[in-house]
Structures are given as C-alpha cells and as structure tokens.
Symmetry: none
Subunit: 221 residues, 2 copies
DNA sequence: CAGCGATCGTCAGCGTCTTGTCAGCTCATC
DNA sequence: GATGAGCTGACAAGACGCTGACGATCGCTG
C-alpha cells in the first residue's frame, strides 16, 4: 500500500510517516501544495493524507484539482481547526474522511485502513491468470490446482502481475510498486523474488521478456 | 462486534451502551445526526442503533444517506412514537428492524443479535466454521464435537473470525473489533490470545498467514 | 477483608521465515 | 564468441510470530 502524506510541518510529517511505515505502508511525503499536486497526479497512491494549511497551493485546492483530474484514491483531510465549515468544505470537495488536529496517530491509521478496505471492498476477491489463482481474501494461492504458500512480497508481486494481464512489467516498475521507490539497485532483488516464485510455482510460470520485463505465462498470450 | 449507537439523550445512550458492552459489543455513541452519518461512513460497524429524533440531521435522512452510499450494516430504528407511518418510512429507507420506545433493553439486544446473524447469512443462533461450533446465545463452543470453555474475549475473537469466513484477518483489525481502538501495541495481545485459543482448541485450528493475519482452518476451503 | 482462581496484557527470549545482497554462472543476442 | 542481461545458490540480518512467565485486575468465596 502506498500512501502520500502532505504536511508542511516536518516534525508532524515525520511522525506520521514513521507510524505508517510501521503499519506496513510505503510512504511518500510532500511538504507543499505544488509538490503534493504533482505527486498525486503522477504517482499511483492507495491513499493520501492531506493537511489543509499548506504553502504555495492550499490543501483544498489541491484536493479539488485531483478530483477534477479523476484521481480517485481515498483522501483523509487533516486540519488544525476542528470546525464544521472546513470539514464540510473538505467533504464536498471530494475528501473521504476528516480528522481534526490534534489526533491520535493510531486513529489515523485505523481510518486509513478502513478507507482502503472500503475502496478495495468492491473489487472481486480472487484473481485468475493462466494456471494461477490468487485469493485476496484468504491471501492464499493455487497454481495448476495445487496450493502454494507465498510470502507477503511474493503475493503482492504476483498480484500486480496478474493485474497487468499480458503486459511485460519491468523490474523497475515492480520495485516501484513493491517498495515505493525506484531504486535501480533493487533490480537484483526482483530477480531473486522471481526466481523464488518460479521455484514455488513452476519454472515456466513467469516469462522473461529480455529487455522489457516479466509477465505471467498464459495471461493473454 | 462493533455497534454504533445514535441517540441524543445521553442517559438513554449510556444505558444502551452499558448493556451492549456487557453483552460483548464494542460500542461507539453518536449524539447528533451529522456525527452519526460521518461515523457510519468512516468506521466499520456490525450494527447501528438509530434514534429517529436527532439534532442537526434527522435520523431518517442519516439512514437514507448511509444506504445511498452503500453502507450495508444492519440498522435498528428507535422512535419515541410507536406509529406505523414512521415505521414504514424507516423500513422503506433501508432499516432492518424497528423498536418503539419504551423498550426492554433485553429485547433490543436480542434483536441486534438476530440481525447480525441474519446479515451474515446464518439462520440459527449457532455458527459453524469447520470443526468449530459457536452458540451465540449460550456463549458456548465445541470443537470437533468436544465442548470447550472460552473466555469472553476468546469467544468474541472466534466469533469475529467465524463471521469473516475464509478471510485472513490482521491482528490490527482484530484489535479494532475486540477493543474498539487500533492501538498498534496490541499486536502481541492478539498473538497471546490466539495462542491460548490454539491450546484450547487445536494447534491447527487457527491458521497464520504470515504478514497478513489469521483465519479459521477449514472455513470455506 | 483475605485468599483464590480465572482472565488477560506485557515482556523477553527464541526459532523460523523472509528477503536483500553478493558472487559467479548461463544464455540470448548481435 | 563477446557481451551483458538475467539466473541462481549461499548467506546473513532482520522481521515476524510463538511461547512461557509474570503480574495486575476482577469476581467469587469463606
């Protein structure tokens, strides 16, 4: 899960970032409205936490721009004042939840989780691609009818590949979605992951398109 | 099981809240329509108890908004007047049950239990999941035909898992539903609970999906 | 009120699983 | 056959979950 934290006070931002990382999120931080807007438009987040008082561009404006540009990830608004006008303005601008400062970091995370659950709750629970079957509810997988035990990362990698049916996905793109940052040094980590998956599933389960990336065998050949 | 109580008279709200807590629910209270609507939209409840006469936003309106936003938890309506027009309006707006004031708190709880059972697709008071059998009325359990003595917390944990048939439930989500707050520090408490349950039931009764959570063995295989 | 048992959160230590890294290898491609 | 992208086995650090122990709390009993 990737989250964008938009907060100009670096202390607060760091606190939230750390807590969310500990809760299993991959976190990016933007410290002004311009940066936030840009990242929200160019990256692929699962949730955004948006402070309203921002330099350069106001938080509400960022929110409206995102929504007018069809960015659909859930958004939680933070605001120093716990007043109704701002709250309603935020909701009407397209926010999904609202939290007044000061807040408990635990409550923030609980709400983020709830939002993501809801946002994801409408998609089907299992995904099939070729001989592979992923059950996102049970977090279990079968390959050619045989149950396979997968680790968290392995599952997420397959899940992403299964979504990109028939498209070769580069190691860099995989790293970006698994770790949040496109660190070129991660290439070998992805290779290692793929190898472990081939061993668990089948040597031919994941095809390599040399120079382009990986794709699931039989998924839209 | 988490319940939202929407009631503006604080005495009544406190009575209901206490009774429901004693019955094993985790309870949140909202005292006006706006708050109720917001909580219902942002939190994850198993049932809501909704008074119709509310400040700010009328109960019926809250109800319609929830339903138009696909919030699907069961809802019981309370109203001071025991008349048919209101009852019909409530049912048509998407309520699942109706109780006229004054009412017996015991009856309310019985109806809540019935609703939750029905919402989960169970017709009787007992829930079966694999070798596990839970009797929600008597708070008793058997595993593989053998009776098992469970504490309140243990029972509620199993009950929640049994409702989420075949879904991996994270320690955080379990904490949220057992304690009402998602305090990350609770993770180990959940682990300890799970261990005690495995000792009472069977070492394989609860499966661990490392990195994802727990699920009942054989529930929907 | 003291004593007892049950419950349950917390802590610390342990074992296992996961995963990034490295070094060397294979093989496709030109 | 030269080159470099990708593969693979080994390894170690760290994450994760498990477990036994302990103590605080609560309700019950004498």
């Amino acid at each position: 899960m990737r989250a964008l934290i938009v907060e100009d006070e670096t202390d607060v931002a760091a606190d939230i970032a750390q807590a969310m990382q500990e809760a299993g999120f991959v976190v990016d931080v933007a410290s002004d409205g311009e940066d936030a807007w840009f990242r929200g438009n160019t990256e692929d987040y699962d949730v955004a936490i948006l402070d309203l008082g921002l330099p350069r561009i106001d938080g509400l404006t960022v929110l409206r721009r995102w929504r007018s540009e069809q960015r659909s990830f859930p958004i939680i608004i933070l605001s120093a004042r716990n007043d109704w006008t701002e709250r309603v303005a935020g909701i009407e601008a397209g926010a999904d939840d609202y939290l007044g400062k000061p807040f408990e970091i635990g409550e923030l995370i609980a709400r983020v989780r709830g939002l993501i659950r809801r946002a994801a709750g409408h998609t089907s629970a299992s995904i099939a691609a070729g001989k592979l079957l992923l059950d996102t509810n049970r977090m279990s997988a079968t390959y050619a009818g045989r149950p396979v035990r997968l680790s968290q990362l392995e599952f997420r990698l397959l899940h992403y590949l299964a979504h990109q049916t028939g498209r070769a996905v580069s190691a860099g793109e995989l790293a970006e979605h698994l770790y949040g940052a496109a660190d070129p040094g991660d290439a070998n980590a992805i290779e290692a992951l793929v190898m472990r998956l081939r061993r668990k599933l089948d040597a031919d389960a994941i095809e390599t398109r040399r120079g382009f990336g990986y794709l699931l065998a039989g998924s839209g050949e």
